[in-house]
Amino acid sequence: MPIHEKSLIRPENLVEHDELVIDGVDVSGHWSTFIETRAISDYNEDLQDEIGALGGGENIHRCWQCGSCTNACTVNAINPDFNPRYWIYLIRLGMESELVRDKDIIWQCVSCNKCTYACPRDVNPEGVMKATAHWLEMKGHTEKKPSMIFDEAFSEQVFDTGKIEDGLVLRQFFQRTGQPLTQPWLVTLVTGLIKRFPVFYLMRLGLATVFRPRTKGWSRAKAAINEYVEEVEAANRKALKLDAKGAE
């Protein structure tokens, strides 16, 4: 089977004209199937630097395309289109449009780091996947994924109080992802808890939910963490040549 041709002609490159007459011959519909140009016509020379500037992407330029990462990859075993080696190549050469085509698969990396241990060049492909997903999101190619929203709710709380109140994390997560709080599994969990937990603990849980205690002397730690987070975010946006936060 001519695998080459099949993969080269993508549905979006096939053009049909509903009504077309060439030299007096009616070639409407699929008689007029044209293939749009498939050639890569330029490199985005900033792509490697941009992704390399995001956390985890630092060593991308070391990759020698051996394929060990893809071969070791957990997700690749299930979905052959999940190919870290290939994306690293696209990024290094600046084939942006090719990369963006796979935007809905790239974030599926499960961070198992099998690739990291397989890589002979110490590229840290797991980090590159993270940086790439981050890049896609910052550039507006992908929506925030639920896991990202969860992480945000989680870390916001830690930064704020130095503690985690699971109930609040869950409530925020469901709210921000537009899901009802009355998830059957959650209802079961909570009623189970109430039945089995000693009253004393339940009271403490209740109090914590209402008063949201902070870690002692947290305000200084909080300031330092926020400053650092802002610094990194600003650096990331600068590396990607995006406006300062909020000015989008």
């Binding site: 993969s7 080269l8 498939r38 050639a39 890569i40 330029d42 490697q48 190549y89 290094r92 084939m95």
Partner: protein, 350 residues
Amino acid sequence: MTKPVLIVGGGPAGLSAAHALASAGQKVVMVEKEDRLGGAPILSGYAKLVPSHEWAKDAIGGMVSRVEGNDLVEVHLGTIVDKFDGNPGDFKATLKNGKAIEAGATILTTGFTHFDSVNKPEWGFGTYPDVVTTTQVEQMLSSGAGVKCPSDGREPDRVAILLCVGSRDRQIGREWCSKICCTVSANIAMEIRESLPNCNVYIYYMDIRTFGLYEGDYYWASQEEYKVKYIKARIAEVTSDGKRLLVKGEDTLVKRPISIPFDMVVHAIGMDPNVDNMTISAVFGVDLNKYGYVNKTSTYAHLAETNRPGVFVAGSATGPETIDDSIAQGQAAAMAALNMVRNPVLEAAE
């Protein structure tokens, strides 16, 4: 008193043989076709050499002055050997300028000829002025003129280096790998990035053969420190859109055709057999191998032997060689020649 050793060709191999012989007290006569010594690195104006990063004019220039300043070496410039007769210990050579020379042994260090890119017209050399060769870029760097597009003198924003131009190509009867051009190209790419930090350099390859220790110092240094990009593609053609050059081929790793604009395209030209080799073969009675280089008869017993006793060969006359290997072979040939002039009968009888 033994007769001198005749060395034909004053490149790195010949210079090293001459110096080795003179150091052992042996008289040498050197015949060089061009009007100065030094071989390709000097005659073609190479810039910084692999692997020392020394300028060619300093490194090879030092070898030249060491030989020119030696009383035991007699140098004939701007001439070639026209006739060559006799036996080991007792050869007679006549130069084109009429001069007769007696020699106990001879070493051929006549080197190579740069591939002429005009023979690959699809890659645009000779059609577009901004398609140049590695030799031209070496000259831009060594002359201090800097890397500029010949068409209008602008500094290129993007340079493509095409490997294996005139090597590994059956179509044009050149099946050998020229051995050094991958490393030289990586070296040139780094030099371009150093002198023009805003210029991106892409190397289009079939395989990368930066053998031995060059792997780290050139292949990886060029990528890790200089962000040179390597693309697996054999370029189909170089054309122009009127403004910039268009490099067309298939990026084999993504299975996609490419058509990328560049300001300058550099051919990594290979090392052809010396164009004089047919004449050299006839005059000295030495065989050529199937590729057209001077044939070495034995690899292990006597490194530098040809089929004719008393006539030795070294360096890139025998096939694509690096400078260091040419120098080593020059010294090996000197050893063999020294044996020959001091014990001609013994050697011949063996």
